[in-house]
């Protein structure tokens, strides 16, 4: 059990480093601006992080919809759909650096609280996706028709953590020019960090527009979970260990499930399995019938 969960931490650490491979740039007042920046990384990882290997899907999407020449960013959305269709929210659980960051913060010893009673906040991330990522950057434009990346500019705590803070540390002029906007976003980051101590992945659950986007693909993604109903004894173990408040026996493709595998590893009957839609077709069909 422990061993398996360990594997996830390793994958998270690996992808975090892979996503931010230009570590030297942290000391150089610069960010990588080469060819790979035209490609998005799967997780939420700021373009302006000195180490960043690629672009953030959410940032890239906003920058394209807000530009005056393109109204819709087909290739960014295409890339996001590709990630979503293959992996769904597995990306949140395994490949997102900011998700891992929150998990690490959550390891700080304290009393941990359940987020069951805040379930209504889950919808907020869809509102953020639609309003701050799609509508505002497209609609509110300047004299020549260029909009702003509203989510990046006013909300995203990953940007402060990975972009603003390291760059401000490296460059005196940036440090001197930090103002109200930085304070606003630093407050958001501090709030997210504080919440992360007491709650598991609060940003992913309630605010992340990228998580919201991938959530829509959990149902149809190639990577799937399956539940063997003949083995399941309805003991409730999976539900009680799930930190994302999912009852996987009710809905195997719950939008909130980040495929972390805790339920799978804790299931005393080994009834939960990972699979792809290409194999185990019958089982997936079986679950649909149950529903």
């Amino acid at each position: 059990m422990d061993n398996k969960n360990n594997t996830r931490v390793w994958i998270q650490a690996f992808t975090t480093v892979l996503t931010n491979i230009h570590i030297g740039n942290f000391f150089k007042k610069t960010i990588y601006k080469g060819k790979l920046k035209q490609i998005c990384v799967p997780g939420l990882n700021c373009y302006s992080c000195p180490g960043a290997t690629g672009s953030c899907p959410i940032g890239a999407f906003q920058s394209v919809v807000s530009s005056s020449r393109f109204n819709f960013s087909y290739y960014i959305v295409g890339m996001m759909i590709l990630f979503g269709v293959i992996l769904g929210r597995f990306i949140c659980g395994f490949l997102c650096p900011f998700g891992w960051f929150q998990e690490l913060i959550h390891k700080i010893p304290s009393k941990k609280y359940t987020t069951h009673k805040f379930a209504y906040l889950k919808k907020l991330k869809y509102i953020i996706l639609v309003v701050f990522v799609i509508i505002l950057p497209t609609v509110i434009v300047n004299v020549v028709g260029i909009g702003k990346p509203f989510f990046c500019q006013y909300i995203c705590p990953a940007g402060v953590l990975e972009g603003a803070i390291p760059l401000a540390l490296a460059d005196a002029e940036i440090r001197l020019s930090l103002g109200g906007l930085f304070l606003l976003k630093l407050s958001i980051l501090i709030a997210v960090v504080t919440l992360s101590i007491y709650f598991y992945r609060p940003f992913c659950k309630w605010f992340c527009p990228l998580g919201a986007f991938y959530a829509l693909f959990n149902k149809i993604s190639i990577y799937q979970y399956t539940l063997d109903h003949s083995k399941c004894t309805n003991c409730g173990m999976c539900k009680s260990v799930c930190k994302m408040d999912v009852d996987i026996t009710k809905n195997i493709n719950d939008k909130e499930c980040i495929r972390c595998g805790d339920c799978k590893h804790h299931c005393p009957q080994n009834a939960i399995k990972t699979s792809s839609i290409f194999i185990n077709q019958t089982k997936v069909g079986g679950i649909k019938n149950e529903e």
């Binding site: 610069t30 080469g34 004299v143 260029i146």
Partner: protein, 223 residues
């Protein structure tokens, strides 16, 4: 279990190797190309890569980070103004200092700050300090050049805008320090950079920084 440990060790070593390779070999080459002009630069890229590789070899003995930044300067300015008149570093010689604003036609904040730049350009001119502007994505692309022309017309900009001459020694994509746009440089009457690059949209605070840096470098006392 044992297999797993091996996998981790191998994975870790590969990762460390990759990080080292990217950071020691790759970063210099890759950093040179600015995102916006990339597609138009495809054709010139190979050429530039070679040039840069040569430069890199020369620089290899003293591998400090100032190296790439210092490979770029404004003393070798080769450009035309928007009316098509040739401009060289002589443009700096009539003034004690020149403020150079780097922008791009795709950069919203750069365009939004133009009225402010316009107002401070008059203020600075009274103190014999010039302000000029250079879009970084128009040298090889006539289409974006037209866009840039329209933008400065819309924003009623009267300070000079320059179009760097394609394939000249003056290549904005070699600037290593610029983190984003807009960014502002100050040069003296010879075109040598004085002070630090100022990142981001200018405001009264940064205007003050510009004055401080000019005064510090030239021993002047502009207000």
């Amino acid at each position: 279990m044992k297999n797993n440990t091996w996998l981790k060790v191998v994975g870790l070593l590969t990762l460390v190797a990759l990080v080292l390779i990217v950071n020691l070999v790759g970063s210099k080459e890759q950093n040179q190309v600015s995102g916006q002009e990339q597609s138009q630069e495809e054709a010139h890229k190979e050429q530039k890569n070679e040039e840069l590789k040569n430069k890199e070899q020369e620089n290899k003995e003293q591998e400090n980070r100032e190296q790439t930044a210092s490979s770029f300067n404004f003393t070798n300015l080769v450009a035309t103004d928007f009316e098509g008149n040739p401009v060289t570093a002589d443009i700096f010689s009539d003034y004690d200092a020149t403020i150079i604003n780097i922008w791009s036609t795709t950069c919203g904040p750069c365009i939004d700050e133009m009225p402010y730049l316009e107002s401070i350009s008059h203020e600075f001119k009274e103190q014999n300090i010039n302000l000029i502007s250079i879009p970084n994505n128009i040298s090889k692309n006539d289409e974006t050049f037209e866009v840039a022309k329209n933008i400065i017309e819309t924003q009623a900009v009267t300070f000079k805008n320059l179009r760097p001459t394609a394939d000249s020694d003056f290549d904005l994509s070699l600037i290593d320090e610029v983190l984003g746009l807009p960014s502002t440089y100050i040069v003296d009457s010879n075109g040598e950079i004085i002070g630090n690059c100022i990142p981001g949209v200018l405001d009264d605070f940064k205007k003050g920084r510009i004055k401080e840096m000019i005064n510090e470098a030239l021993g002047s006392s502009i207000k």
